[in-house]
Chain length 305, copies 4
């Protein structure tokens, strides 16, 4: 492809006043599912990518940054995670990273949107890399909140890999104190959860600090962290919430040792130094986290758009 | 202003296939100077911003991240910086941060483009905050490279705050091993330099790793680091190069102590934890730095576009 | 200005799925008035332009096409227009064209938005060319519909030069059968009206055919016509409605003769052949006009967006 | 599809400072052929469309306006066209319109780009409507200029349906006085040619007036005309050049009669009144045509970009 400017563009709107423009190579698949609008595109710079309700979810080029950051801090914080629950995660890449951990015996993945899961299975092989065929997996296409309310299963790690809370979308009731209470009750006594929590950019800090504040209503230990994901055009926030373990106490050597002992294959971007960098937030962001008072509730949900 | 979408957009092109789109509030000033195209815009999200040759240089909302990251690691690494040289830095915000350091007795700022400096004085008061009036400043509008070649002055810290190297632009000969050799010779025996070195995004890693590799030809200690600057739409790289001092040996307390003792006023975003996070690069990026073999030379310059 | 692509763009949205993008040279003026959002921009291709509620109203380069097409067919159809009423027309260019007619003794211009009129006086001198100073003019900033209801004045020609009907805008009650009835009653016994009626593009033919159909409820003779106005990106429709005179009966020589005898100065784009071409609509468009059954009423208004 | 704004856009650049933006529904096909870049897209507003070297060639919604305007004036001007030559016309729609004429016995279509023709056969069935299967057609994928130079065949009508002259594209040597001389020699003694000649917008009038002026070097009668084609975002110019017949002498009734007697099926947009309107150019445009002095030659070609 020449160096001429693209003539076909995907506009990923961060707000009515800001967007990231991506040159389109081709449109692979699109569908209006029962829950959301799904698009799979090939972009000139970021390769294949998944777009839900108009927002970039992950791209071939840098999904490893997102998924390694989401999964490994929680998994490595637990001494020996056997049972893992994934909320959402339709691409199969969160699953792929969880299954690298040798201790894992059972993974239950619950994504509400079967059509998204099927499209990802077909069109995103670099994401799942066959993970959907792993015998340790049980996959259900259901409402994860309802599932967790009704089950009596217990999990060592619960990873919440869902899209942002929007008024019309399927996710907003998975960001509330009531939901986190349900999650807490399904954790083993030393269990942890990890989740993505929206951008950490100060201009758009609607969600990240409120999610962290809400988690603190339920969990004794809450550790926010961030990673820079270029295809998002903004730094991205995560949080780890725990009954017992605090990932901030470690040093890089301990993390590198745990990776070596417990994780199969080579991680692309996460290691001890990466971990330490991700948990060291800027003075400004720490200050915003301290000042935050909003608690997200079923009756007072938060929408990012 | 309503929540309706903007109808006037500034396209900040990262490549022919990617751009950041910013809703425009108003156009404050524009001029084709002897060296570059200068624009000052008010954007809906990022407030006032300076654009040179079509690229965002800094924005009202997050210039503090850039300028604090550029200035303080070098200044605090030196035990008592008295004489400081600033290459470029037309906005006056690098100067502002340098002048916060109580030890500073003389600052020489050399920016090639007087028209940029004048426009910034007039239109960017939140950047310079009066720093151009400080009696410790000497300001010259000249070619900084030529100045450094001809002078016999010696500086404790040299800060290189210039735009990216492009073929038509004024900056590309300030990224070469020959230039860094000139800079080295103008440092006091325990002097340091700091510079911005382009994005750290892997997809656009033309400049950052090559600049770091080139610095290593000249300086015994080279410490790359990065900061996330939302208005750039990409994480941004910096480097500190030194004859003697290595900023990576410190801990957060030591940094916080030096800030408290030596810096006037409150920093918005830089402190010990911020510093540690900025110097902890991801595994991927460290790997790219190790693999880099390119050395930028006057005869083999590097252009980012 | 170089041939490089613009980096600042005005998006003139024709629909959620189509827009005309114009490179911006500078922003001259903008204001949220009591009635609408007003912007005056300098565009790279079309020079200065007036934008109301986000839609291009007229541009320096081709406003002559619009204003000559709006004014002269009606004025020349009447044997000797003395009293003229202009609804809207804030730019002053409709007024300018009316005042070229030597027979004109009194022009009453009623534009609801004084702030628009003032901004046009200041920033659009190429439009009005001093017309606002003509002693034949009386200018009132009022609701034209209310004025016409309350007055007992009578006019030879009434020209309706208003923006498109949108739900939040000031114009939609000036497109209804009730309004045209009021207008009709204020015409002299051989009076005519002319108005702009929206695009004639089939994909967006919401307004043009409905306006023509609505006019037929009130006027015995209704003559739709169109002109191509490049800065609009779409061909544009007009209509002439009359008690007595039918402009379609003429030939080009008759028109050229009347221009010569009755109009001061040189018209740029309108003459006999131009007139004939503008009234000869395509087979498709004539077919749509015949098929149209919608009548716009105060209780059933029409909004184009 | 909802009324929300599109998030995927095709930018059809008219110049570095102006573009038409179209919401993309899907990408049907794309290929870099031996001669040009070919794309077939489905747009939200204009349906399927053909794009060559980044420029819209024709769209499902309004290709009838373009192709009826290109074909019928020339075909109807001739008393009984039997042998027709089409230069270019890969979509098959020019062919479709030619074959409607009952008098036609042989059509030779020569398009240089077999890959474009094959893609149109497959993906643009609404354009060709099976015309490629008509036994009167002979289709060759060759250089039309070379073909015409070497053949001794003679044609009643030659229709030149090619893309705009650009430096890298295949068309620019089909706009020169030398080429028109070759064409002239292959016409029967009362033959005519028709061609598209670029936009008639004054801001972009590089091509239209020069083509008309160049034709006048070769043909005794040259009649420029235009049609408004919404998907192009600009009014579009054509020219008819003839040894004998002048289409401007007719009246609408004569044209309607010839259509009725000689053309099969119903034309969508062309009839006598449409024809008359298309040949009545505005005063401004006629003035530009008169003033034009440029003659396009092989050694002095004209490029529109």
């Amino acid at each position: 492809m020449s160096q001429e400017k693209s003539n076909k563009w995907f506009f990923d709107h961060l707000s009515p006043f800001e967007a990231h423009m991506h040159g389109i190579e081709s449109l692979v698949f699109s569908k209006k599912t029962a829950f959301q609008t799904l698009e799979i595109l090939d972009l000139k710079t970021y390769g294949r990518c998944l777009v839900l309700d108009g927002k970039m979810q992950s791209s071939e080029v840098d999904e490893c940054i997102y998924h390694e950051a989401l999964v490994h801090p929680a998994m490595l914080s637990h001494p020996k995670p056997k049972n893992v629950f994934i909320v959402g995660g339709g691409e199969g890449a969160t699953l792929r990273e969880v299954l690298r951990h040798k201790s894992v015996q059972h993974v239950l993945m619950v994504d509400i949107d079967q059509e998204v899961v099927e499209a990802c299975k077909t069109h995103l092989p670099k994401w799942h890399q066959g993970a959907f065929e792993d015998p340790r997996l049980r996959l259900c296409c259901l409402d994860a909140r309802q599932y967790l309310e009704e089950t009596d299963e217990v999990f060592d790690v619960i990873i919440i890999d869902i899209s942002e809370p929007i008024e019309e979308g399927p996710a907003y009731l998975l960001y509330t104190t009531e939901f986190y209470q349900i999650v807490m009750e399904r954790l083993s006594k030393d269990g942890l959860i990890a989740l993505q929590a929206g951008t950490t950019t100060l201009s758009y800090l609607k969600n990240f600090t409120a999610v962290c504040r809400t988690l603190k209503e339920v969990f004794p230990i809450v550790s926010p962290y961030q990673a820079s994901i270029p295809s998002f055009g903004l730094p991205w926030g995560f949080a780890l919430a725990s009954k017992t373990y605090d990932p901030e106490g470690w040093d890089t050597k301990e993390i590198d040792l745990r990776i070596k002992e417990r994780v199969q294959g080579e991680l692309l971007t996460y290691d001890g130094k990466t971990h330490m960098g991700q948990f060291l937030l800027s003075k400004q962001l720490r200050s915003e986290l301290v000042k935050e008072v909003r608690i997200i509730e079923d009756n007072h949900p938060l929408y990012v758009r």
